[in-house]
Amino acid sequence: MKPRQLLALFIIPMGLIIAAVPQNKTKPYKLTADELLSEVNTRTQYVAPDAVADMIIKKDPTLRLIDVRSQDEFEKFSLPGAINIPVTDLLSEAYTDVLNQDIKMNIFYSNGTLTANEAWMITRQLGYKNNFVLEGGLNYWFDAILNPQKPATTSSDEEFAKYDFRKSAGQALGGGGVVQASQDQGSSSVKPAIKSLPKKKKAAGGC
């Protein structure tokens, strides 16, 4: 028997079988408890508020902020450009396209990080990519970005650069009034005016 005939005898039945059986469309993708724990431990899901503020200011088109709190809370206050997907509606069909995509960077936020983390875990377990959590939630956002504390004079340059960025970011994102009021008490009235120029530059090019 020629090799070709032998080959034909073997692969034609195989081809017939594979043509006859239904295609396997199930997604076996699932994280084990160990894998999820290791992701939680390495904190890969968190995005620092400074990075988020920077993206908002630069109008980064890949950023998509998702407010997972209730609609009432969302209407009272939300981050610029955020959309509202209450965590109770997370699995609604209408939001599948928003959550399961590989173009934008979805960042969940809630008051703390609990609700946002719930949303992240559910989407992660579904195998969706590009979903993250705003580190510290809105509470930390207020402290860090909208009302940053001036570092001690002995702090490193890095700390001051971070503070400058946060202050200018806070002003750009609508926390300016509060910031300036608290800053005027701490330093002379001349200094903030001088500082405002390099501050803006940092916001544009920093981080």
Partner: protein, 196 residues
């Protein structure tokens, strides 16, 4: 080792090591199949030797059946397998250049290294030409990058385009391959060469 590396079941270094081992195995099989002879390789275009067609089509069909059965058993997620994206214009032009080089030089890039490994001089000349081509492409990239990136189609599958399931398409491909083998062996008898 696509899915294994992506899921971080094996490290990047293990992945490279496996690629090295598989590469050596691939080269060995190529040499043993006679792929280090440019006359044998060019034979597929003149009809006197169809070993290229037979070896590569058999390899493709084996891999295809393997992947489809693995997917059926749930051992592999075909969505995680990397599919080279299609740029239609460069695929056609590149195919013509590659085919012409194959007929003229008697080697394709992989087999030229296979030939060089056993010290074939024509293989070394071919590799020299290959690097000149790579160099010209790199230097002149600005001249043809528009054409290079034109007609991007994503990663379409023929089965999807034709509206068939993967299994039915695989079966048709098997039939096609067997017909081609039959034609090739007929051609080998029709256009024989005594010594090459």
């Amino acid at each position: 080792m696509g899915p294994l590396a992506i899921n971080e079941l094996i490290s990047e270094n293990t992945n490279l090591f496996l690629a090295f081992v598989i590469g050596i195995g691939f080269g060995f099989v190529l040499e043993q199949s006679g792929f280090s002879s440019s006359r044998k390789l060019a034979g597929v275009f003149y009809g006197y030797d169809a070993v290229v067609l037979k070896v590569f089509f058999t390899a493709a069909i084996t891999a295809m059946l393997g992947l489809l059965f693995f997917s059926l058993f749930g051992w592999i997620d075909l969505n995680l397998v990397y599919v080279n994206p299609t740029y239609l214009t460069s695929a056609i032009i590149g195919g013509i250049i590659m085919g012409a080089g194959f007929i003229i030089g008697g080697y394709c890039p992989g087999t030229s290294f296979c030939g060089a490994s056993i010290g074939k001089l024509d293989a070394f000349v071919f590799i020299g030409g290959l690097f000149i081509g790579v160099f010209i492409f790199g230097i002149g990239y600005n001249l043809w990058d528009g054409m290079y990136m034109a007609k991007f189609l994503g990663s379409p599958k023929i089965s999807e385009t034709l509206g068939l399931t993967d299994g039915v398409f695989a079966f048709l491909l098997i039939i096609m391959a067997l017909v081609m083998f039959w034609v090739a062996e007929w051609a080998e008898k029709k256009f024989p060469r005594e010594e090459y």
